[in-house]
């Protein structure tokens, strides 16, 4: 069966150990986590975990059921089949010699990124977008010498007012 990437939006009790339960479930059952983001929601007792995972349809069904079975998990939504906005953020430290600075700025501009830090021989660029866009940006910056990268992994929300 075909392996597909899925974005799961998981509302959980904001308690110690909850993330470990989720991660333990994935490692114990051999499921993949491509990326993971956790932060509070408008309710202080509830956190949202946005997770990108991979698997065929039966595996995805099991993942969702197993997540729902965890006592601290309030709701699991699969955003993949819904109209969704997905973003991730990248911070990239790229070599920037004088002769390349203009070109790097132009590329950054095209991706609506910004330079957040400057050194004698480097820029630190911040950009947001979906995963493909971020990868495209990094590809274009590669020739100038990428020193370090930090990526957040995807966060996502359904466009509808109510998440299914």
């Amino acid at each position: 069966m075909k392996e597909e990437k899925h974005i799961l939006s998981i509302l959980v009790d904001n308690q110690p150990g909850v993330l470990s339960r989720i991660v333990g479930l994935f490692s114990g059952r051999g499921y993949n986590i491509d990326s993971l983001c956790v932060a509070e929601t408008t309710e202080p007792h509830v956190s949202r975990v946005t997770m990108v995972t991979e698997g065929d349809a039966p595996i995805l069904e099991q993942i969702k059921k197993q997540l729902n079975k965890l006592i601290n998990i309030i709701k699991v939504s699969d955003l993949t089949d819904q109209d969704t906005v997905v973003r991730e953020m990248v911070l990239v430290k790229v070599g920037a010699k004088a002769e390349h600075r203009a070109e790097i700025l132009r590329v950054t501009d095209i991706f609506r990124g910004s330079v957040v830090d400057v050194g004698q021989e480097h820029y630190t660029i911040m950009a947001t977008g979906n995963a493909e866009k971020m990868s495209a940006l990094l590809n274009l910056l590669k020739p100038y010498g990428i020193r370090e990268i930090a990526r957040t992994g995807s966060i996502a929300l359904a466009r509808d007012l109510k998440t299914k």
Partner: protein, 562 residues
């Protein structure tokens, strides 16, 4: 409102939850709780090893249907329960485990007898808690019992730091737990049940396949009513034994690796399988691609993760087995099922033919056959005993040759396969059912894994009967070595074994031994009539194998018969 210590709150909440018996072992981190126990009328069974406590609580829960309670100290006390917790988790047994913990200030310091038991048991508990605030203790205990016994039951662990058990707070009885994120589905979707009714009416070769879920939800009467009304034969997993009377003509015997020929053949040939409270374990299905390939499968289970996990089903039903079968039976009342004796005849004839092809059997010899011991035990106890087992050949023969009339009679480690489970579980079962005959069917290997509990049984005057089928080796492993490893008996022969009769006597119990077939009945009689803890050792044929057998990973029709 009065101030209470954490220990007092704990005991008060246990009362609230209807607990009157605890299996445990004290230690530094639970001294305050034990001090409170000293003053209370709670019954505490002092075991000799924490693994004994958790298995006893498990056995107690299995026979009484109540939540078993186990209490141990921090560090090694806690880790010693892990096998038993995993065991209860695999078999969905409601147990609450209290572990002591070092004071909150010391947590994370590698303090003396500190271990992260909540971390260790996260994958093998239904849920677990570390109590960090004494004000939450009462609520947590209430939640833990609720989670342990509801939905698909399971073990819940509560880790209590010492400063919580000896701290004080004002006590307020917590409300009924309302967990926003935990709401098991008990009542099934009726539309799915209509589909089952239609499938039953259309089926030519139906079978019912029942599992541990039937026993856990006490759905045995509903299951029996369904089978008898529709004249559908029944097979069950090891965990499902007792869910359908083992003496009923519709009974096919157990399915799976050591299932009966007719059960395995029926599963392969059936056109409708009504699976109730089963999870399609690999020991049951064998090669999954060839399991019940001709059947439309209906699966009823309270746990949605059990459905479609290993096998695609045509009609999934999430619900409690008892409630679901009750509704299904009501719906069938209004249906005209036709002349079922006539309709089912070809299928019945086919099953009869399979029955004649290969019955469960063994050949008598000059040496005692283990199957014979169990047959005699069944006869002498009129099938009314609570049987616990260890794991291995003893377990399979106990499943094949003893027949169980109702849930809570066959107590066995099904999922985890824990050697050393049977004897402490028998202790728990005897505590829960003081008037019943409780027999642990053991091997000479597994009985030694928790033999220290002999002292517990004798101390509390628990007349547990231990039947040791002594073949001088690890029989099941030896059987695999004989069949699949060219008889290379690597580390399966016990060159030295204790004298089990003297061992029983050393513990203050009664020891009996039979070495010849003609002694079996007399020894069993004598043992069963003795009102003490008794070890009955039967020196059996060492090379006896459990048949039928399906090699691991093969289709279940690929059976080695006797």
């Amino acid at each position: 409102m009065s101030k209470m210590t954490g220990a007092q709150i704990l005991l008060r909440m246990l009362k609230e939850e209807g607990v009157d018996t605890i299996f445990g072992y004290p230690g530094g981190a639970v001294l305050d709780i034990y001090d409170e126990l000293y003053r209370s009328d709670m019954r505490h069974i002092l075991v000799r090893h924490e693994q004994g406590a958790i298995h006893a609580a498990d056995g107690y829960a299995r026979v009484t249907g109540k939540v078993g309670v186990c209490m141990v100290t921090s560090g090694p006390g806690a880790t010693n329960t892990v096998t038993g917790i995993a065991n209860a988790y695999m078999d969905s047994i409601p147990v609450v485990i209290f572990t002591g913990q070092v004071p909150t200030k010391l947590i994370g310091n590698d303090a003396f007898q500190e271990v992260d038991i909540v971390g260790i048991t996260r994958p093998c508990t239904k849920h677990n808690y570390l109590v960090k605030d004494i004000k939450k203790l009462a609520q947590i205990i209430r939640e833990a019992f609720h989670i342990a016994r509801s939905g698909r039951p399971g073990p819940v662990l509560i880790d209590i730091p010492k400063d919580i058990s000896n701290g004080t707070t004002t006590f307020k009885l917590p409300d009924e737990p309302e967990l926003r994120s935990y709401n098991p589905t008990y009542v099934p979707n009726r539309r799915q049940l209509t589909k089952i009714v239609d499938l039953i009416k259309a089926a030519k070769k139906p079978i019912i396949f029942s599992g541990g879920g039937v026993n856990l939800s006490k759905a045995h009467r509903e299951l029996t009513a369904l089978a008898q009304k529709t004249k559908i034969p029944v097979t069950s997993t090891l965990m499902g034994l007792g869910g359908f009377p083992g003496t009923d003509p519709l009974w096919l015997g157990m399915i799976g690796m050591h299932g009966t020929y007719r059960a395995n053949m029926s599963v392969s040939e059936c056109d409708l399988m009504i699976a109730v409270g089963v999870r399609f374990d690999d020991r049951v299905t064998g090669k999954i691609d060839e399991f019940a390939v001709n059947a439309k499968i209906v699966q009823i289970d309270i746990d949605p993760t059990s459905i479609q996990k290993n096998i695609q089903v045509a009609v999934p039903v999430v619900g409690d087995c008892k409630i679901t079968l009750e509704i299904l039976n009501q719906m069938l009342e209004n249906e005209d099922l036709g002349d079922l004796d006539e309709i089912r005849k070809p299928w019945r004839d086919q099953i009869d033919a399979w029955r004649k092809t290969a019955r469960l059997s063994y050949k008598q010899s000059e040496r005692i056959k283990p199957q014979y011991v169990i047959e005699k035990l069944f006869e002498l106890t009129r099938g009314e005993a609570v049987i616990t087992t260890e794991v291995g050949q003893n377990q399979m023969w106990a499943a094949q040759y003893y027949h169980y009339p109702e849930p809570g009679r066959f107590i066995s480690s099904g999922g985890l396969g824990t050697m050393g489970f049977g004897f402490p579980a028998a202790i728990g079962a005897q505590v829960g059912m003081p008037d019943k005959t409780v027999v642990d069917i053991a091997g000479d290997g597994s009985i030694q894994m928790n033999i220290q509990e002999m002292a517990t049984a004798v101390q509390y005057k628990l007349p547990v009967k231990i039947v040791i089928l002594n073949n001088g080796c690890l029989g099941m492993v030896r059987q695999w070595q004989e069949l699949f490893y060219d008889r290379r008996y690597s580390s399966t022969q016990f060159v030295h074994l204790p004298d089990f009769v003297k061992l029983a006597e050393a513990y203050g119990a009664v020891g009996l031994r039979a070495t010849k077939p003609e002694e079996v009945e007399a020894i069993l009689k004598q043992g069963l009539e003795t009102p003490n803890t008794v070890i009955m050792e039967f020196v059996v044929e060492p090379e006896e194998c459990v048949y039928p057998m399906v090699p691991a990973g093969a289709p279940i029709t690929n059976m080695l018969l006797v």
